[in-house]
Symmetry: C2
Subunit: 151 residues, 2 copies
């Protein structure tokens, strides 16, 4: 054990969620944010974040424009997307479907020993990521009481 697991989401996914919130925040008035700003604003490695943004952009979770004054921004529908949408885009839908003990065959009819206990937790987790939209974080961050990076 060299790690210290946690890992509800992959690192890429953590970065993606933070980036989405950051871009939403910064692009309120049609402004575009560059990859450098996004990386700085979320404590993420720049080139790695670039890859993630490309991915999110390809999947239309965020808008991008090349060239001078280009960058990333969000339209109305992007602001409406939930954390769950981001998670699904980056980590897939394992959070919906996979057994907490990794059993492929685990199901209601063929449950692992913790299936039903975990079911409740999963339900709440899914509710949480589905109900929180990216746009809603704007007001939260505006209060200055929430943070996207250390220090």
């Amino acid at each position: 054990m060299l790690r210290n697991y946690n890992k509800m989401f992959s690192k890429s996914c953590e970065y993606a969620i933070k980036a989405m919130i950051f871009v939403a925040q910064k692009s309120k008035d049609e402004l575009r944010v560059g990859i450098k700003d996004i990386a700085k604003g979320t404590d993420a490695p720049e080139h790695f974040m670039a890859k993630i943004m490309q991915d999110l952009s390809r999947k239309k979770l965020v808008q991008s424009i090349k060239g001078p004054n280009g960058g990333f921004y969000m339209d109305k529908s992007n602001l409406n997307c939930s954390i769950a949408d981001v998670v699904k885009a980056i980590d897939g839908d394992g959070i919906y479907s996979e057994c907490v003990l990794g059993l492929k065959a685990c199901s209601e009819k063929n449950p692992c020993p913790v299936h039903f206990e975990y079911k409740e937790i999963k339900k709440n987790l899914i509710k949480m990521i589905e109900l929180n939209t990216i746009g809603e974080f704007n007001s939260k961050l505006d209060t200055g009481k929430y943070f996207l990076k250390n220090g």
Copy 2:
């Protein structure tokens, strides 16, 4: 995204939990279980499982005896250990302490945007893994309604 994340626990940890439940189940009457049986009974790669069992044994979550008729088994106190104990032994206590967005500085006073929503989920998750002891799974598995492996 080649993965399909999920990953509440690492693979090692999934195997460890299953192994603990399996050994508890099989060693009810002072019997010892060998690594081959454990691997088979949990759908885990044998040598990898061996490593994990060594780890659990070193940390006294399970007992082991070498030589002919040796193997793994559990004493009373082992049966009393919770899933949380196994998780902490293998994955560390990140599940208790780490921010879901990976922010080192995230805390009650310096919360990330999802801190308080996640707090509730985390509380339930911790409750679940702390209240479920390994020994308690015996009766569950005895009913034949729960499974530790596919197929």
